[in-house]
């Protein structure tokens, strides 16, 4: 997730203040990201990690991770963040076709990711072609 931020450019308005990692649902990733936030920055922006239990609680995020258990909330999440510039990351087969910008999938016991550049660009984000090259599928 941290690596994705190196290949995506957020609009100017998102390049000051905290870089917000949002998480919808429960995942051990929250603790990891919180730990990472203590030592890392995204560009010059310090990291803030926020946890949401549902789409209705969402506020401004740079990157929003929707856990597998909350996959059914994706459409509500998209509605909630559509006016902003949020990279939506999911981990459920098929969600790359349903509005997620990046979707984690398991192939041969390894984590891979699919990308939907159209969804990403709709959020006014610029994606590097290098990231596209690393994705297993690009839509």
């Amino acid at each position: 997730m941290y690596n994705f931020t190196k290949y995506i450019e957020w609009p100017k308005a998102y390049q000051t203040g905290y870089f917000v990692f949002g998480i919808v649902g429960d995942t051990p990733l929250y603790d990891e990201l919180t730990k990472m936030a203590q030592t890392k920055k995204i560009g010059n922006q310090p990291i803030l990690v926020k946890k949401f239990s549902s789409a209705s609680e969402l506020d401004k995020c740079h990157l929003l991770y929707v856990t597998k258990g909350k996959s059914s909330e994706l459409s509500n999440v998209i509605k909630k963040v559509k006016s902003g510039s949020t990279l939506i990351v999911t981990e459920q087969e098929g969600l790359v076709d349903k509005g997620a910008g990046i979707n984690f999938v398991v192939r041969d016991n390894k984590q891979k990711f699919e990308m939907n550049t159209k969804s990403i660009e709709t959020q006014k984000l610029k994606v590097s072609s290098n990231l596209e090259a690393l994705a297993i599928t690009v839509k």
Partner: protein, 293 residues
């Protein structure tokens, strides 16, 4: 004049041949004589002369005597030497005896001697482990195994001894610690594989081998840097997945034999989690939880 030279040279040839035969025959007799007097330095000297002569080299008696003499010399002079050359000579003689004595003239008499030398090699293999000289330990054990094979020792016992010996080396290398460096890990992997080559169902070797692969994967995960470039991240992930995949069959085998049930369940839960197989990870997690209730 020519005739005189011819006679003289003929005489010289005959004399030297007769003398050589006398020396060899005499060497054998002298060796026997000194054995009876328990003067083994002299016995060694004469048996070596006899053993190097082509007339005797194919006689089982020479090699039987030679193994006896060198055994006595070893006992007197090099008993504390884990790498005794006198014992090596004894083992060489035993080996020759067993190859030559097809009529079984001396083998029954030699058996206690072979057993004795084999036991010293076994004990010294263990002592070499304590000294952390694993090369010598392996060498001594190989001698022990070879000698036991010559006397047709019970195969199951020998196999068990070999497995015990390899586990002893593994324990010494790891010093009983779970955390090992890459050199130790490499040695241990080889040892457990050797054990599994002897007994593929050895639960402990399966479990320990799995743990080595798994821990190596975990070490990589724990030392990963968030700043790692994506390409490296992918390559590292590949490496970790390969290690977890390598760990899996051995842990499953240990589980099959109910070996350290809680630990194997914990291991399977974690390995499957590392392989991104949440369903199977949860299956073993639940089994572990019900076992712990």
């Amino acid at each position: 004049m020519k005739r005189l030279i011819y006679i003289l040279s003929l005489l010289l040839t005959v004399t030297s041949t007769v003398k050589a035969q006398f020396v060899q025959n005499n060497s054998m007799s002298k060796a026997e004589f000194y054995i009876q007097k328990a003067e083994f330095d002299s016995a060694q000297k004469y048996i070596d002369i006899a053993a190097n002569h082509e007339e005797f080299t194919k006689q089982a008696k020479v090699w039987f005597y030679r193994s006896f003499i060198y055994k006595e010399q070893y006992k007197t002079k090099e008993k504390q030497d884990l790498n005794s050359s006198l014992r090596s000579e004894c083992a060489i003689s035993i080996d020759k005896l067993y190859k030559i004595d097809t009529a079984n003239t001396y083998l029954t008499q030699a058996e206690p001697l072979v057993k004795y030398i084999a036991s010293t090699y076994y004990n010294d293999a263990a002592r070499a482990i304590n000294n952390e000289d694993y090369k010598l330990a392996n060498n001594n054990f190989a001698h022990y195994k070879h000698l036991q094979t010559l006397i047709k020792a019970d195969e199951n016992t020998l196999t068990n001894h070999e497995i015990q010996f390899k586990f002893a080396i593994a324990t010494a290398i790891s010093k009983g610690q779970d955390k090992v460096d890459s050199t130790q890990r490499h040695h241990l992997i080889n040892i457990y594989k050797e054990i599994l080559a002897i007994d593929k169902n050895n639960a402990s070797a399966n479990y320990n081998l799995s743990l080595l692969y798994y821990n190596e994967g975990v070490d990589i995960v724990n030392n990963m840097d968030y700043d790692m470039e994506f390409e490296n991240l992918m390559a590292t992930q590949e490496k970790i997945a390969n290690l977890f995949s390598a760990a899996l069959p051995y842990m499953l085998k240990a589980y099959e034999f109910n070996y350290r049930k809680e630990d194997t369940l914990e291991g399977l839960k974690n390995i499957y989690y590392g392989l991104n197989d949440t369903e199977k990870s949860n299956y073993y997690k639940q089994e572990l939880e019900s076992l712990q209730k």
